[in-house]
Structure formats: structure tokens, C-alpha cells
């Protein structure tokens, strides 16, 4: 399976990317271009798989029917900015630069920088197992990032953009205030640096997490069953997090990929069925406003919350 991705990335690099870089005078970046090509191939695969999975799912068993889906349109814009735009590339390059700087500094002090494989030598050579461990660790830390974004009023003011949507679909996963995205990136990066995630795996991790996150936001009456819901976050499980009674500063089901952390830390709620979504406390502009309006209103709300101390 990964062989196909490698072959596709190699073809993309040789046939399109490098000739374009040559033409644009960017050949000094030739050595990292394979990472970019691989990133693009996985990104495209993710978009295709998300569409192929979620569109039939939402048509087959929708939770809600809306007279019109105007509010969804802005979520599509969020998705394109977040996934197809330059954002993933910028984050990859930034992460790479940060890792080079920090790890080089540590090496100068005579230390080989931390990696999971150095901590557990048996992992060396078992890339799939190592990859899964990295996923579990990152998902655990993301649980706490998400939970804290509901605890601090100023942070939730930004996160409310995500919760205000009353027409939640698989597009809603990327409906995040840019500042909230930046905080998430910094959080993710610090953790990734501490546990030594290789740059080539970092985008793949993000893509895998986001595929599950997209499905969990789908407007689909879908549960994974008693056991399945306790192994992987399902649309039903995550919908409870977006429910009108769970919005705001005290919520449930914060997990993005694994529900384990909610189960361990007492925030899991498997009892709710397919509730209506949205945040009744949020300004209307956050639900139905334009992309710019949502950003502006959330920012104003954040400043107000800071003012209150």
C-alpha cells in the first residue's frame, strides 16, 4: 500500500515538482522535495477518501435534514484554506525548521536528541508500531489541548467558532479560528519535538488524525457499536460533544481519535443519542456569519474575556 504512495510521490517529484522548481529557480530545496511530494500525495488521498466515505454516509443516514445548507458553505471554505491551501506546507516547513534548530542545539551539547526509538530500542526497525505509538501519544496530548480550550474563557471564545455550527457535516472539522489553529499547531509541535517525531511522519500523522476527525463530524446516524465506540471516536460519540447541551465551558467527549482518554479522565458520555448541534450561548454571527465575520466576532469576544481577567 505504501509502495503505491511512494511510487506516486516519486512520479510527482520527478515529473511535476522538480521541473517546476527548476523553472522557478528553487532547486536548492531539491533535497526536501520528496517530503513535499509525499505530503501532497497523502493529502490528496485523504481528501478523496474523506469525500468517498462521508458523502454517501451523509446521504444514506443523515441525522438532520435542512431546508438549505447555506451555513455549510463557509465550512467548505475553512476546509480548503486548511487542507488544500498553503497551511499544511507552511506547518511542515516550520516544524522541520524548528526540529533542526532544537535538535542541532542538543547535539552540540553532546546529546542525541530524544526519540521514542532511543527510549525503547526494541522499536527501531518497527516503523508501523512506532507510528501507532506516536499517534496514541499525540492523541492523548490533543485530548488535553481540546479540553483546556473549553476551560479557559478566552480560548473558548475562539473555539466557539467550531461549536457554533448548527448544520454540522464532515466539512465542519476544519471550521476553526485561525488563531485557534495556530495555538493547536504550537501545541502539536512542542509535543512532537519532545518525543522526536520524524518530519516525514509528522504530516502523515496529522492526515490520519484528521481523516477520523472528518468522519466523526459527519451528519450521519452512525455508531460503531458498544465495543467499537470505546475503541475509536464515532460520529455519534463526537456529536455528543457538539450537542447544544454540551457546548461551552463544561463539555464531554473531547477525544479526537481515541475515546480512551475521556473514559480514563471521566469525561466520556456514551448515553446521548444524536443530539442537535450548536452553541446557544454563541453570537449568531459565529453560526451564520461569513468567514471574516466569524473571525472578527470571535476575536472581539476573546479580547473581552481577557478584559474580564
Amino acid at each position: 500500500m505504501t509502495g503505491w504512495f511512494d511510487a506516486a510521490a516519486g512520479w510527482l517529484q520527478e515529473s511535476l515538482l522538480l521541473p517546476a522548481m527548476y523553472g522557478l529557480g528553487l532547486m536548492e530545496w531539491e533535497d526536501v522535495s520528496f517530503g513535499w511530494a509525499l505530503f501532497a500525495v497523502y493529502g490528496m488521498a485523504q481528501v478523496v477518501v474523506t469525500f468517498a466515505l462521508c458523502v454517501p454516509l451523509e446521504r444514506w443516514r443523515p441525522v438532520e435534514h435542512w431546508p438549505d445548507s447555506k451555513a455549510v458553505a463557509v465550512d467548505v471554505l475553512y476546509t480548503f484554506i486548511s487542507r488544500v491551501g498553503l497551511l499544511p506546507l507552511v506547518t511542515f516547513v516550520l516544524f522541520y525548521k524548528l526540529q533542526v534548530g532544537l535538535n542541532g542545539f542538543l547535539a552540540d551539547q553532546g546529546f542525541v536528541p530524544p526519540t521514542l526509538e532511543r527510549l525503547i530500542p526494541g522499536l527501531l526497525g518497527h516503523q508501523v508500531v512506532t507510528f501507532l505509538l506516536y499517534v496514541i501519544i499525540l492523541d492523548f496530548t490533543d485530548y488535553w489541548r481540546h479540553r483546556l480550550s473549553h476551560v479557559f474563557n478566552w480560548w473558548y471564545a475562539l473555539h466557539a467558532v467550531h461549536h457554533a455550527q448548527r448544520q454540522m457535516t464532515f466539512w465542519s472539522d476544519d471550521r476553526n479560528h485561525l488563531l485557534d489553529d495556530v495555538i493547536a499547531f504550537v501545541w502539536f509541535t512542542v509535543i512532537a519535538l519532545l518525543i522526536g517525531i520524524p518530519p516525514m511522519q509528522f504530516p502523515l500523522l496529522v492526515l490520519l488524525l484528521r481523516l477520523v476527525e472528518s468522519v466523526s463530524h459527519a451528519n450521519a446516524r452512525l455508531s460503531f457499536g458498544w465495543l467499537g465506540e470505546r475503541l475509536l471516536v464515532s460520529p455519534r460519540f463526537h456529536r455528543a460533544h457538539h450537542g447544544v447541551t454540551a457546548a461551552g465551558y463544561v463539555s464531554v467527549n473531547y477525544g479526537a481519535l481515541l475515546p480512551w482518554w475521556d473514559m480514563i479522565f471521566g469525561t466520556a458520555d456514551f448515553s446521548r443519542s444524536f443530539a442537535a448541534t450548536g452553541d446557544p450561548t454563541a453570537e449568531e454571527a459565529l453560526a451564520t456569519g461569513s468567514y471574516v465575520e466569524q473571525h472578527w466576532v470571535a476575536l472581539r469576544r476573546m479580547v473581552r474575556e481577557f478584559g474580564r481577567g
Binding site: G10, Q13, E14, L18, M27, E28, Q99, V100, A107, T115
Partner: protein, 310 residues
């Protein structure tokens, strides 16, 4: 039985694995071990992150592999390819020993620095921050200078290894990569164009430009000194130059982005092909080549015709 028989035959042959090639799979944190006789990959040695280049120590007792993102140099037994030790080093992209065996020079491409280490103790002697992307290196035969291509700023830096200072920085073509000492001159392959520039090693002045192909990347003298091979990444060709005239003698098409080269005693030339994740074995007489599957983005390559990997 059909599967076991060839293995038994190989074991009975005893010397069947004599001669092996080590390939740095920079895109998947592993090294491929290839049996030269059968041209088959025997195994992959896992490493931490991104192995790029490889170099024998002056006493030929250790084979050093630079793992850039892991920030370490791995020291292998050059005959068995067994790992002996790990040495912390910041961003060891390209590594090379001065001909007198005094210094180990480490180019940190991502960190824009050139580190001069003591070749025996590996202690850092001096660091040169050089903008930007120090890529390949070449030494003068008297070990007085090391020349470093600066891929990001289209320059070539000459470092005086006696005074430990930068002697000059000269202009090159765009994205210079490979550099080679050639009779008091320097040949610089410009990846951002289709040519190799000839610079005066004393002054850094450009004397001539030779067109080899788009994405001119790396240069290697053949062991008999009769040819210079130049790999062109965009055109996916390797061309040979006459060392006396520097005129192009012959061009070979090698699809997949040829990068580093090793020369086998039987006259075959081994290339890493970065984009297609293979190694090519070229017969330079007939122009025919075969390929061997290896890991992602194979970069550096080391060939030892007497190696018996364990």
C-alpha cells in the same frame, strides 16, 4: 523446496555474499544491504531518521553514515556492515576527511554550518556558519583547503584548513551541489542550471562553463582517472567528460534521478536513483543497466567488493 534450494546453494558457495553494497535510504530511515553477485537486496538496517551520505575513515576501519535529522553519525564495520557506535553530531549531511587524515568536515545543510572536527577524537575544532545550505565538499590534495558549495545562496566557500578561516567566497551558478578538485581547478555542478562551472581554485574566478544537462548535481572521477561522471537530476542522465578537455564523451539516460555513484571492480557503475527508489547498475561499455529495488529516496552509496555482511 524451490525456495530453500537457492539459499542452500548460496550457503554452499561460501563466497556468494562476498561483495556488498550499502545504500542510504534517506526517505525511510534505513540502509539497504545489497549482494553484489546476485544484485539482490539482502536486508535493511533500521536507523533513526534520515541517512544521507557515507564515508570511510582514513584508516578504513570504520564506515561513517550521517543521519541528519537524528543528529548522529553511525560508525559501521565496513566489511560486515555491523553497527559499532553512535556519535552525536549536529545535522551531519555531507561528511568528508581531509586527505592528510587530520580533519573530519561535516556540512550541516539544514543548519547552515560547516563543522571541522578532529578526525580521531571527533572533537569539534571550529564551526563556520555559512549561508546557506552547505551541501557538497572537495579537498585540495595537500589538505590545505576544503571547498564547500552553498546551495541556498549560489556560492562556493574556500576554507583554509591551516588558518581555519574562510579564504574566499565565489559566485557559482544556481543551487550548486557537487564539487570536485581537478588539476588545480574546481568543477562545480549547478543543480539549478544545466552546466558545470570551472573555477580557479586559488582565486575562485570562473574560467569556463560546460553544459552537461539540466539539474547538474554531482561529479565523480572514474577509478582509472580516464573519465569524469556528471549526474543530471532533471534530465535524469549521467554524462562522462574527458578529464583533459572537459568535453562530453558520452551520455546515458538513467530515469529516476541519478544521485551518488560507486565504481565496482568489474567496471560496472552503481547509481542511486532518488525518485524511483532503486539502485541502477550500469555497464558503461554497452550502456545497458539493471535496477534493484531499495528503500525510499536512496542517496549515499558504499561498495565493498570484499564485504561479507552479517
Amino acid at each position: 523446496m524451490r525456495r530453500i534450494l537457492p539459499i542452500l546453494l548460496l550457503l554452499l558457495a561460501g563466497q556468494a555474499h562476498a561483495g556488498a553494497v550499502l545504500v542510504m535510504n534517506s526517505g525511510e530511515a534505513s540502509l539497504s544491504v545489497i549482494d553484489m553477485a546476485s544484485q539482490r537486496e539482502l536486508k535493511r538496517i533500521p536507523v533513526l531518521r534520515e541517512p544521507h551520505h557515507v564515508m570511510l575513515t582514513p584508516d578504513k576501519r570504520e564506515l561513517l553514515v550521517g543521519d541528519t535529522v537524528a543528529n548522529e553519525i553511525l560508525a559501521f564495520d565496513p566489511n560486515t556492515f555491523e553497527l559499532r557506535r553512535r556519535i552525536p553530531a549536529a545535522d551531519p549531511y555531507q561528511i568528508g576527511f581531509s586527505p592528510d587524515g587530520k580533519y573530519l568536515v561535516v556540512n550541516g545543510l539544514a543548519r547552515a554550518q560547516v563543522d571541522i572536527h578532529d578526525a580521531v577524537s571527533f572533537k569539534l575544532v571550529k564551526r563556520f556558519p555559512l549561508k546557506s545550505m552547505p551541501s557538497h565538499m572537495a579537498f585540495s590534495p595537500d589538505s590545505a583547503s576544503v571547498f564547500i558549495t552553498l546551495q541556498g545562496t549560489a556560492k562556493l566557500a574556500a576554507i583554509d584548513l591551516r588558518a581555519l578561516s574562510v579564504r574566499w567566497i565565489a559566485e557559482t551558478g544556481p543551487a550548486p551541489a557537487g564539487v570536485m578538485w581537478h588539476n588545480g581547478r574546481l568543477l562545480v555542478a549547478n543543480m539549478g542550471s544545466d552546466d558545470v562551472w570551472v573555477l580557479n581554485a586559488a582565486t575562485g574566478k570562473t574560467e569556463r562553463k560546460i553544459r552537461t544537462g539540466k539539474g547538474a548535481h554531482q561529479l565523480f572521477p572514474s577509478p582509472d582517472g580516464k573519465l569524469i561522471y556528471v549526474n543530471n537530476r532533471i534530465d535524469s542522465t549521467t554524462v562522462t567528460l574527458d578529464p583533459a578537455t572537459l568535453n562530453v564523451v558520452r551520455s546515458y539516460k538513467l530515469p529516476g534521478g541519478p544521485d551518488d555513484i560507486e565504481f565496482a571492480p568489474d567496471g560496472k557503475v552503481w547509481f542511486t536513483l532518488r525518485f524511483v527508489h532503486k539502485v541502477a547498475v550500469l555497464d558503461p561499455v554497452s550502456g545497458q543497466f539493471s535496477t534493484i529495488d531499495v528503500g525510499r529516496s536512496p542517496h549515499g552509496i558504499f561498495l565493498n567488493a570484499k564485504a561479507t555482511p552479517k
